[in-house]
Symmetry: C2
Subunit: 480 residues, 2 copies
């Protein structure tokens, strides 16, 4: 779209309607609104329209049409991201549309013997989990937004979640992809093979690329045996260092059945117990740190393995105290403590949040030094640290000190994050473990992944999307 | 090197010597010979020299020097590949050198708590396995050439082997890489993180790229808990279809401890028992197909789990017969039957070999139809089918019929492979599961991965290596 005249815009929209039908085109401001707004309200964008193709061919036609009119394309799934990656920003990048995967919502094939599921990109994660379970199989990706996030978004952000320890990130679960390239060509590498060494593994380019290299329309994913036995425990430990030692002991003691190993600080538990109704401390005595551990196995016996392991750890002093869930509902109560931390933090005031990872061996040092940084920069702030210890992924958050103004506290976000991210990097870590870069962390990407790394990313971007129409202004600064 | 004058060549070699020292440069024909020859004698190449840098900086200097003289670079590790990918072919691609990783043979770091190992690319696989075991950790990659193949080659070929079912291919084991790009720049993404969503996952480009996009100098790899209990069994089944059903039952019945599930035909067992001294049929009665199954767990109890599972399968008819190894040496005897199939085939005459994969659900159909193809094209040929059923990876081989001339039989390789590869592709499979493309399967790559897929591979190649100096004439035809 070389100029912004109403006539040209109208021609462009007519062409779009011809490609997706009226059912697939949204230009009405009210209907568009939720697709232009990040769910926490941190980002608000603008777009000419939203196109929702109902087939791969329609999606390809939309991309070709946009490419021929130099209109940017912002891929969107469930719009549950945390870094503004799915929000259109029509200025300064020029006109854009939102390209929604929502009508590509069909499960194409479930192959029980091959342990694979092939589905269109707009399938909601919970729908895929349910379809797998109905076929006595497990689709292991699980995260807070699973009721609304979509497969294509999960792949584009290389989603993590609570089962990464055992089953890996989304990248590890994808065997094949179908993608519309930025010129509208369809790349079909929708294969369901565990071994295939035939040239470059092209699907890897699009996993975690945040929609900047193409639009994912379908994927073939791994399935696993459905766990038949499960055991969950809440454990008290002295320190993050003790939690790291206990993790290695658990790897040895309970074997491959370990699926979750979550670290939770006393501060985080206190917030949940005080703020969320029906939540209570599972142990009689307070401890400084906790671990929520879960075993799952397709074979029976998870509970006895966990109980034996914990008895041995209690007697050897690797553990202060602990309780094993005696029922599913008790296990759910323990998980509720973990899942309500974010909500409890919100109730307790404003928060400054980080999604960092470090090698597991540096988690204790990171938390200790990070806490000192927090108290130095924001005296009196509450440090709420928790996360997926088995992945080295720590959500390191600060909560508003009593008596400090909300705005004054939030003004500390940038200087605090700068120090916390620099600390993670110093320890060999990452400034974005799960959430990605999107619009939020462009400066961090340039700072911490600069030099040969950023130069090569830009070379890949130029090779696949020379006109820069896929998700403009994400990952890289708009001026690039 | 714009012309071949002796003076220019000598200047080039002097410059190379200045970069790697005399200890790092080989020009002597006898010393070069084993590095120009594929170990089975199928490929023989030519090169100006072999450079073996002793550091990342030296490797980068060599690549820059070659780039500035338009001399091609053929990366080489242990030279154990099966598709000619590590062999230099100075014509028609112009002058080349072999760039050996062998002097980059240092283990840089082993982080027990983080379950990671960082090592230079020239480390031999067995050396890494031993270092991990000494630290009570498992480096799970295991394959026949482990006594001489090297880490860099394992990564460049995305090596598979016998533990893929549980631990994945090499791609799944790599967390970080250091690579010399084709212009001599060093890309260091040597991070040991399980979660890191900061832009494109650049390391994926180089894993399985067969040295065509850069020279790998070091890697950070995942380690796992060392298994403490192990159980191995030899099972008799009626058919490949029965083996596939038993596989699903085993996934459910013995859980995540399943590490190997190998399918072996009666024909293959007969060859081994007849040809290899000390090998005998573990069961009293003959059966048409066998499965070698192994469980390993960092927690105890693998043997009792396997025994209980097999008892249930015997009584339900999922299994004809079976024997569980009562000792490590019995387990080794069972594995010897599997590992000696290739050797036994060689003793029985010439062979036509395929390394295909199909979805697990299509394995039975593939073997049935493939066998008909074999007998149609080469009447009387012996079909020797075996492989990693849990990965859908079947080594589908034909042995010389009695009375047929060796040369006449080998002349059937191309027409047989064409039909077998086409069959694998028809069933959603791959013409190269583990071994790669190299020089051997360039035509297959163009035929079966053509269109948008091959075009995108070429775009990536041009973006990273515009002058085509990295492993020229591999993956793509020389004319490209």
């Amino acid at each position: 779209m070389m100029d912004d005249s109403a006539l040209r815009a109208s021609e462009f929209l007519d062409g779009l309607a011809a490609r997706v039908g009226t059912a697939g085109l949204t230009t009405d401001a009210d209907t568009l609104e939720p697709h232009l707004t990040e769910w926490r309200g941190l980002y608000r964008g603008a777009a000419l329209a939203m196109a929702a193709p109902a087939s791969t061919a329609e999606a390809a036609a939309v991309v070709r049409w946009c490419a021929s009119h130099a209109v940017g394309i912002v891929p969107q799934g469930g719009n549950t991201g945390l870094v503004g990656g799915a929000i259109a920003h029509s200025s300064p990048q020029g006109p854009q549309i939102v390209l929604s995967a929502s009508r590509l919502n069909r499960i194409i094939d479930l192959d029980r013997d091959n342990y694979t599921l092939t589905a269109q990109a707009g399938c909601v994660l919970a729908q895929l989990q349910a379809a797998a379970a109905q076929s006595d199989r497990l689709f292991p990706l699980s995260l807070a937004a699973e009721g609304s996030c979509q497969l294509g978004g999960n792949i584009s952000t290389n989603a993590g979640g609570i089962n990464v320890l055992r089953y890996g990130n989304m990248r590890d679960l994808v065997l094949g992809l179908e993608v519309i390239l930025p010129d509208g060509e369809v790349l079909n590498v929708l294969r369901g093979l565990r071994k295939d060494n035939t040239g470059y593994d092209l699907k890897q380019l699009f996993i975690g690329a945040e929609g900047s290299l193409g639009f994912i329309t379908a994927a073939t994913c791994k399935l696993f045996p459905l766990p038949r036995s499960r055991a969950t425990a809440w454990l008290a430990v002295d320190s993050p260092a003790a939690a790291v030692q206990l993790y290695a002991a658990a790897q040895d003691g309970v074997g491959q059945a370990l699926v979750a190993y979550e670290l939770i600080s006393r501060v985080a538990l206190d917030l949940v117990v005080k703020g969320i109704s029906g939540c209570r401390d599972p142990l009689a005595e307070a401890a400084p740190w906790y671990v929520l551990v879960e075993l799952a196995d397709s074979a029976p016996g998870a509970e006895s393995r966990l109980t034996e392991f914990l008895a041995a750890q209690l007697s050897s002093g690797g553990l202060r105290d602990g309780v094993v869930a005696a029922s599913d509902s008790q296990a759910q109560s323990l998980w509720r403590l973990r899942h309500n931390i974010s909500e409890a933090q919100k109730l307790a005031g404003a928060g400054i949040k980080h999604d960092v990872s470090v090698p597991i061996s540096r988690v204790a040092e990171f938390i200790e030094r990070g806490t000192r940084v927090a108290h130095e920069l924001v005296p009196g702030s509450l440090v709420v640290a928790f996360g997926h210890l088995g992945d080295g992924n720590i959500h390191f958050n600060l909560n508003q000190p009593p008596g400090m103004e909300r705005e004054a506290f939030l003004a500390c976000w940038a200087p605090v994050s700068e120090r916390i991210h620099a600390l993670a990097i110093e320890l060999g870590g990452s400034f974005s473990a799960e959430h990605g870069v999107g619009a939020l962390k462009i400066a961090d990407l340039a700072r911490y992944r600069g030099g040969a790394e950023l130069a090569l990313m830009r070379r890949i971007k130029r090779a696949l999307d020379p006109h820069g129409i896929m998700n403009p202004g994400k990952l890289f600064a708009a001026s690039d």
